[in-house]
Symmetry: C2
Subunit: 363 residues, 2 copies
């Protein structure tokens, strides 16, 4: 990972925002900028220097992981030490912080430790989540890792197909999938595994329960793993038994919506246009109301990152962004269907990172 390049890009944004420094406390942002993966840290950045503050538990780990920043071990709160250090740097009169990642209590504590002449105006909210917006555009190293993570997800789907059968509790499906993920090298799941069978498939967030898989019905599997820090995310919906014509129509409508939206993904298109592509297919098929969430979201070091792929979103796709495309329909009390891929915006269009089959699988 080219941490120096990232720090350079961030410094240019800082300069443009008129800030002399930045205090970074969100762990994925810290990892992105200097490689540190510990849970307790703060990164202080000026136009010339960068210093990571962490505590004694992480001495060895920080020495091993951190690049493009000095490391400083502290006994108190890392962010307070970072705030004090920033305020003591020559020429630093104003430092930014991300208001969406800073609690009211943190800000009060940081300010309290500043020299009184600086207390009022030193910390300024950044005009946008600077690091998060950098993170939205993945570099080559990240794209390679994300492709690897997504392929691992596809392997898990393939594996679990042989395992699904009526009567099996949803949580055993999740357990098998998660065990396989671990054995194949995943550090963790990127979110709580969704296994939602029968009428439960009508819940967009149907976490696996002890309920048994039905003899006949849809099973939605929505899961992701974390590999070397990067999240995967995919959904497939399969059918146990023979679907009715109505169920088949619903499935194929979602599939058409999903592929139509995928086909719009290219640099320069707005996220709202991608969302509308999926939505209009479902609307025409009479499922407009049943598609009750956004079409997708960015993914990377976190499972949900910018950009949001929802109605009216004006953000334009950039080469290197990785988003999900996951339209669904939910008919409460009856059934639901969702199909989700991860897709990267490339120089020439897009590349699907989750090439698992999408035609309806009947088991």
């Amino acid at each position: 990972m080219d941490y120096f390049r990232r720090m350079g890009a961030l410094r240019r944004k800082l300069t443009r925002a008129g800030l002399h420094g930045l205090l970074v406390t969100h762990p994925p942002d810290i990892r992105y900028l200097c490689g540190f993966t510990g849970s307790s840290a703060a990164l202080a950045l000026t136009r010339r220097r960068a210093r990571l503050f962490t505590d004694g538990r992480y001495t060895a780990q920080a020495a091993e992981e951190v690049q493009a920043a000095e490391v400083h071990i502290v006994t108190g709160a890392p962010a307070v030490a970072a705030a004090q250090w920033l305020a003591a740097q020559p020429g630093v009169m104003m430092a930014g912080f991300d208001p969406a990642r800073t609690t009211v209590a943190d800000l009060v504590r940081w300010k309290r430790e500043l020299p009184s002449r600086l207390r009022r105006a030193f910390f300024q909210t950044t005009p946008a989540p600077l690091v998060e917006l950098l993170r939205a555009v993945k570099d080559e190293d990240e794209l390679a890792l994300m492709a690897e993570a997504a392929l691992l997800g596809c392997k898990l789907f393939e594996h679990i197909l042989n395992f699904l059968k009526p009567g099996l509790p949803e949580i055993e499906v999740a357990a098998e999938l998660e065990h396989r993920a671990r054995v194949l090298g995943a550090e963790a799941m990127s979110f709580e595994t969704i296994i939602a069978a029968g009428a439960r498939s009508a819940m967009p967030h149907g976490r696996a329960t002890p309920a048994p898989l039905p003899r006949k019905g849809f099973v939605t599997l929505d899961f992701g793993i974390i590999l070397k820090g990067y999240c995967s995310d995919m959904t497939r919906t399969v059918f146990l038994g023979k679907p009715t014509p109505k169920e088949r129509i619903a499935y194929n409508s979602v599939l058409e919506a999903q592929e139509t939206a995928l086909n719009t993904v290219t640099a320069g298109v707005s996220c709202g246009e991608v969302d509308e592509a999926a939505r209009s297919v479902l609307r025409r098929a009479g499922f407009g109301e049943a598609f009750s969430h956004s079409t997708g979201h960015g993914v990377g070091l976190e499972i949900h990152e910018p950009p949001r792929v929802g109605a009216g979103q004006t953000t334009r796709l950039l080469r290197g962004m990785v988003i999900t495309i996951e339209p669904g329909i939910y008919l409460p009390g009856k059934f639901g269907v969702r199909i989700e891929d991860m897709v990267a915006v490339t120089r020439t269009g897009s590349q699907v990172l989750t090439p698992a089959p999408k035609a309806l699988i009947e088991l």
Copy 2:
């Protein structure tokens, strides 16, 4: 769960703090007060009413789960709607929020939507994390669930003992343990499983890696599950092969420290005294420097909750608190040992919730 009792206790605290209302946004706090487990919600509380705000994805779930509060489905941000509702309640001139659980951006957004006459003084930081402090003292229902969660942890430890053998990658140990947890009904792990073998046991936070278990050396297993929302947390350190006298002395020193601290746990004792009980044993044994973290922490709906059981902490233990006691020693490049139980403060003293064997197990 007696949500009405909890709401009543919270209202008394609000009144004492001179506040007319409270805006609760931290998911475990919301779950504690009204039972809702969804991820997107805000709870607004006045002296007479309570209303949960969530979005359309959770209509069915909220109807099923929520007690002691009205449910209101919104299309925008639940917390913004909750803030507006609070400000519109008769007699509510000042509402509290927890500054440690509210971002600077959230507070700005909430204020922006208020009538201008209220904007300046309506939202007040609470003098303490009111809900979190209530949560620190568990009621009978919670204690029963936590005992069940802790016992499940003990079963997992028993299971994994038959599985450990030299050469096995740490992550496969974690995978087996986590799979078993799921099959036995755990919703998830309460934190990333720590399996740290050989020299890696000297890292207090040694997440499982692909490294193989050594032929000879300590293996630290620190893991927890979530059962019906409640976290368990336990650590055992076992030995593969025959320990040297020095390793045995280290192990027994930690064990003595752990049991000495456990024996001090009773209502009225300060957390600092409990910490000192463990620390003084290790200091006398020459391992004072090697015990580099606090003795323990509260546990419940979250894996880390008040109280903190560390040096100098003056908080006094109350009947119903559940804390961990987990001293350890870490000798970088050599080995580490940690032993951890969950213990509940009872009417007559304390009760260990994790009765798995602690004498050194040699495999």
